[in-house]
């Protein structure tokens, strides 16, 4: 029996890592594909092991896409490419990957232990964080991330508004009727995150790299090894960036409804703010291939995944989109998360904790070892792997409905992405506007439906978030000198 569990764990680790390597796919897409063979899991705890391994290892795998291919590995790992790929281009791919993996791993470990060892304690936090707190936190988060600006700041602002408008396409939450769908039913549920990531962020990078000659950067084993060690040292040196990212990701995962995709951008914005003028004088600035940019955002993604288990397990309320799929899969085999029977099921928690820790332990050497092979790709002319990456982008985008409309949507997003890049309208700003759009609108509707503005000042947390938002706005307008080159 134990052998079978170990076999399933290893299968999940390999599958999750592979899914992480597929551009923009991420844990959600990887888990959806599990529906095809969920019937083979006769033992429900085996599925717990398998899904946990996928969640843990896909977060490690997605760093590779951003750093060596300049495409986001998943929705919550897009910011990695901004500093990771420039590092890769100047021959520091192994360092960037090592720093990303080390930071993501250590935050996964810290937050995983914090979650699973003290699970019941979080009930009060989740229940305390109500509609007013959510609304003001989103205002604060939005204020922070909009100041991740490019040097073309006017066009960046326009792109932000455009992203916000595109995020409004779908169903009007006030009237429950279609909004800006132009009669196309497919848009009824809004435009999905994956085609936007794939088309707006990834495809234009692929296209411009297609004609790029491969940099003849020869990384021999000794150099790779020294960069790997350097990346680990960087993770230690900039540990506060990584831990801050972990805290942000951990907090966002804990509270259902904030949306995991904002975690890495929020963490990245805080790294930009923290680095400020004091970014390494002898290194590249943030947004231009600075390892702090990689560390700051990579801290968030595994931490967010770990803490999103809290509301999912305690309340049966998914803390992140991938948890919806985990819940559905486990329900299929008779494990209903959030029910007293599961909460009292010691075997369930034993399998969850052991598979979480075992996956983390197994994936670390695999990921470090894989760096050696992944960096070779920087020597391969981009046009050689343009088609495989494009194929994997299409595959990820067509997991939504599998119908021809998925292809149309991907094509539209590609066209928009190329236009934005060519005209130097910040695609990061567009993406941030898109991510926050529906979330903020719904949060405002909930708030205005139940409360008056004066109710924001009847407890301490909402005014705190508002004050932080004002401070962030002042900093962003008057003191923020960091401008990223990425458009």
């Amino acid at each position: 029996m134990l052998e079978t569990y170990i076999g399933v764990l290893l299968l999940g680790v390999v599958y999750g890592f592979f899914v992480g390597l597929i551009p923009v796919a991420g844990a959600t897409t990887g888990l959806i594909a599990v529906y095809a063979f969920v019937g083979y899991f006769e033992d429900p705890y085996m599925l717990v092991v398998f899904t946990t391994a996928i969640v843990v290892t896909s977060s490690i795998g997605d760093s590779f896409c951003g750093v060596v291919m300049n495409v986001p590995g998943a929705g919550g790992a897009a910011a990695t490419m901004i500093d990771g790929f420039p590092m890769s281009q100047r021959g520091e791919a192994a360092r960037a990957l090592s720093a990303a993996i080390s930071t993501s791993w250590i935050n996964g470990l810290i937050w995983g232990l914090l979650v699973f060892l003290f699970l019941p304690w979080y009930t009060k936090i989740v229940l305390y964080f109500g509609i007013r707190e959510m609304f003001t936190f989103l205002i604060f988060a939005m204020t922070c991330v909009v100041f991740i600006s490019s040097k073309y700041w006017v066009r960046g602002f326009i792109a932000l508004i455009a992203g916000f408008m595109v995020g409004h396409i779908g169903m009007d939450p006030e009237t429950a009727s279609p909004r800006w769908t132009m009669g196309w039913d497919y848009l009824g549920d809004g435009i999905q995150m994956i085609p936007v990531m794939a088309g707006v962020l990834a495809f234009p990078e692929l296209l411009s790299a297609y004609r790029m000659k491969a940099e003849k950067i020869f990384l021999d084993n000794a150099l790779i090894k020294s960069q790997l060690i350097q990346g680990i040292k960087d993770s230690w040196k900039y540990k506060w960036d990584g831990l801050r990212g972990g805290f942000i990701g951990g907090f966002i995962g804990l509270i259902p409804g904030i949306g995991g995709n904002i975690a890495d951008w929020f963490a990245y914005s805080q790294t930009v703010a923290a680095a400020g003028k004091h970014a390494d004088k002898d290194a590249y600035g943030i947004g231009k291939g600075n390892v702090r940019g990689v560390i700051g955002c990579e801290g968030a993604n595994n931490a967010q995944k770990a803490t999103s288990y809290v509301p999912t397990i305690l309340f049966g309320i998914p803390g992140a989109p991938f948890e919806v799929i985990v819940m559905g899969l486990l329900m299929y085999v008779g494990l209903e998360l959030g029910t007293p029977s599961v909460l009292a099921d010691g075997v369930f928690f034993d399998h969850l904790l052991s598979s979480y820790l075992a996956s983390l332990i197994i994936i670390l050497p695999i990921a470090y070892l894989f760096i050696k092979y992944a960096v070779k790709i920087t020597n391969v002319p981009f046009r050689w792997y343009f088609w495989p990456i494009l194929a994997s982008l299409i595959w990820s985008c067509t997991q939504y409905t599998g119908l021809i409309e998925d292809y149309y949507m991907f094509a539209i997003c590609c066209a928009v992405g190329v236009a934005l890049k060519y005209l130097k309208f910040s695609r990061v700003s567009f993406l941030i506007g898109f991510i926050l759009s529906a979330r903020i609108e719904k949060s405002y509707l909930q708030f205005s439906g139940l409360y008056e503005w004066s109710d924001l000042f009847t407890s301490w947390l909402p005014p705190t978030f508002l004050a932080l938002a004002v401070a962030a706005a002042i900093w962003g307008l008057f003191f923020n000198k960091a401008k990223i080159d990425f458009v």
Binding site: D185, D189, G316, P388
Partner: protein, 357 residues
Amino acid sequence: MKQLKKPFMALALAMSLLVGYSAPAVADYTFVVPQKPGSGTSVWTAIVAKELEKHLGEKIKIINIPGANDIPGFNKFHNDLQSDPKVVMVSHGGNGVSYLVDDVDYNYYEYDPIGMMNLTIINGHQKSIDPYTDEILFSAGSGMNPDMMAHILLKGGPGLTMEQGKEIFNTQYKFIKGMSGGERRLSYQRGELNVTRESTAAYNKYYNDAPYSTVWFSQGVFNLETGEIDADPNWPNQSIHEVFEQKWGVAPSGEFWDAFELVRNFRDVMQKALWTKKDNPNTPALVAAFRAMAADPESMAKIYVKTGKYDWIIGDDMKGALDILRNQIERDTYANLVDFLKFTGKDAIFKEDVIPQ
């Protein structure tokens, strides 16, 4: 480097073929669910499909076509997919409400019915409130409209008119928009909302042991022969008409009750229903498999865990239920319903073609 070119090209070709191959089903039947993977109807379909496969003797693939109010998936079935005799549509209660008051392409009366579960919805409230006198704070949504109307009905008492219903909505009701199911549950647990609704299985899961919540009423079970709402076997003496009589001493009546009953029945009778194209050659096999599944105690035990214990209505019996439902659509009642839902903020429309001629 040149030696790597061939493997890369081969990988590209393999992945392109994979993409091309990903859409068609590697199964005999395709069940279309109008919601995202992991949603309530998706999970229900996965459980039913697993049991049905045993009796059908063929594999079933589930595809999800989500969209606003879960309409696009059903429209897609109606306009494109139903021509394939191996495609089955899985609808839920919200589709029934949308059939009445939203702009949809699909029409239940144009398909072969395969089977449906005659389910119901449970409404609970915080123990700390008196729902008859306190302001109600409830999450909005298309599938929530019958519950919102039930609350107003219970507050208003016998003979409630539409205008009186509007008055109660204006003065004693907050219908909170923009909430997902998960947010609704958390807000109810926090006490930000004071009334909630769930299926029987979900209510038991989330609130049965919760010290702060109590069952207010069940929406009752639709009687296929009389068209009336009967007592819910899972919640004795707690069906809406019973609770109404306990509170007000008389049976519910009036134009508001009629409008409520119409939308409630269209939602709950077809909470989970399966359809294929009319005169589909596979209909008899599907219906036979459903009958076999419904007679199999082992299969039904697994399904009841998810749904609560409610009856299946299969094949031609469904046609009778559909006829009863259609005959309940009286012009004035229907107009009242649309007018009231518009008043509450929904973009509801009056559709001449749903009224029986």
